[in-house]
């Protein structure tokens, strides 16, 4: 079955069953690497993307439920040559160890900064509390989000 989906401002036609999780479409049909398969159960946040303006665990939403909603992934924020302020601040703060959770951290931080451009440390911790990181890089992530907020405010 063919679905029309708009990802990072690009329209795509994908041939997939309606109950295919969005994550599989993003990774396998569209070849994106940003969203990660972590737990597959909506528990870790590694697969996060912004769908219809909302932070979404793409492993746990079916293609049929996307409707007309636009999808923004990590790739849609910026590139290594032209990074988004969040991506730049994560590099500046070296806010990753293995980096597998970084997609979810950055997407959740993007969602936070869109709602609250000047978050306190507590706001950041609250917003990222459900993004799991096993390496223990949390404090650097909090600093990176703060740094990005300050850069975006300039």
């Amino acid at each position: 079955m063919t679905h029309r989906i708009i990802v990072n401002d690009q329209p795509h036609q994908v041939d997939a069953a309606p109950d295919t999780p969005l994550l599989y479409v993003l990774r396998n049909d569209l070849g994106l690497n940003g969203p990660k398969f972590g737990c597959g159960l909506g528990q870790c946040g590694a697969c996060a993307a912004i769908v219809g303006g909302k932070l979404t665990r793409t492993c746990s939403i079916a293609l049929r439920d996307i409707g007309e909603d636009r999808v923004t992934t990590l790739e849609g924020l910026g590139t290594a040559q032209k990074p988004h302020p969040l991506q730049r601040s994560f590099v500046e703060e070296q806010a990753a160890q293995c980096g597998y959770c970084s997609n979810g951290m950055i997407m959740a931080a993007k969602d936070l900064l869109d709602r609250n451009p000047d978050p306190s440390e507590e706001d950041i911790k609250d917003a990222l509390a459900d993004q799991l990181c096993r390496c223990g890089v949390h404090n650097r992530v909090v600093r990176a989000v703060r740094r990005a907020a300050e850069e975006l405010a300039k």
Binding site: C59, L77, T79, A80, Q87, A96, G99, S102
Partner: protein, 299 residues
Amino acid sequence: MTDKGVSRRRFTQSLGIVVASFALAPGAVFGQVAGALPFSLRNNRQLEGWIRLEPDETVTVFTGKAELGQGILTALAQIAAEELDVAFDKIRMISADTSRGPDEQYTFGSQSVEQSGGAIRAASAQARAILLASAARRFGVRQEDLQAKAGTIASPAGKRATYWEVASADPELLKGDITAATAPKKPSDYSIVGQSIHRIDLPGKLTGAASYVQDMRLPGMVFARVVRPPRYGAKLVSLDEAAVRSLPVWWRSFATAISLRLLPSAKSRRSPPAMRWRRRRAGATTWCRFPIVPICEKS
């Protein structure tokens, strides 16, 4: 405990003695003793298997170790840049490609800088010495009178040549084996190693570049998922293959695995299909434990 038993405390005490004896061994500073061959060089002797000078004036450095977030590619690039005397940003790391670079077996046990770093340090020191010796012949001066800095060799009389110019004049120059006969730099002379610098792998990881095994996409690739028993000790006694076949067309039961009484797997041309497999295979497997009489359940 009995007299014959070894208590945990005694066991760990004896480990401590073993560790101490290693730590106190003379000349144990790996790779700094000329002639001592670092571990990873023993089966990977070719210099070109570790270091290549590229036409675009960069240096490709190969390691058999994989970046898992330890930052080793950055650390190994620092070691290469330091010993070669080239700028850090001229180093391009290739990781765990045994078709071109060294086979260093597993990446484990905090051994990557020790083993791969020791090898790259020896290889880089030797490559630098070979390049300097070649430049000395070309300039007609003694090797010890030459200075190398940022990939450029300079003579006291002001003659200059880059490493890449020296190497391109003799394609065989860096094709020999590593002997580790060249002493690497003293740590007190380091200017790149020991600096805290940004990880070279992070910009890619933070922008969605292909960085992980999961990001490899090969033609015709399928994914497999292990189906695990619902509880300890349960063995698979039957699998409803019809139920598996009723799954979408790309599903295949792993007939050999089933016939061998191994865990059945399913292949998919999509990602590891956790949720869907969980939902659709419900009841398709029967598992039993055998305490006295079989206790079975479907899963």
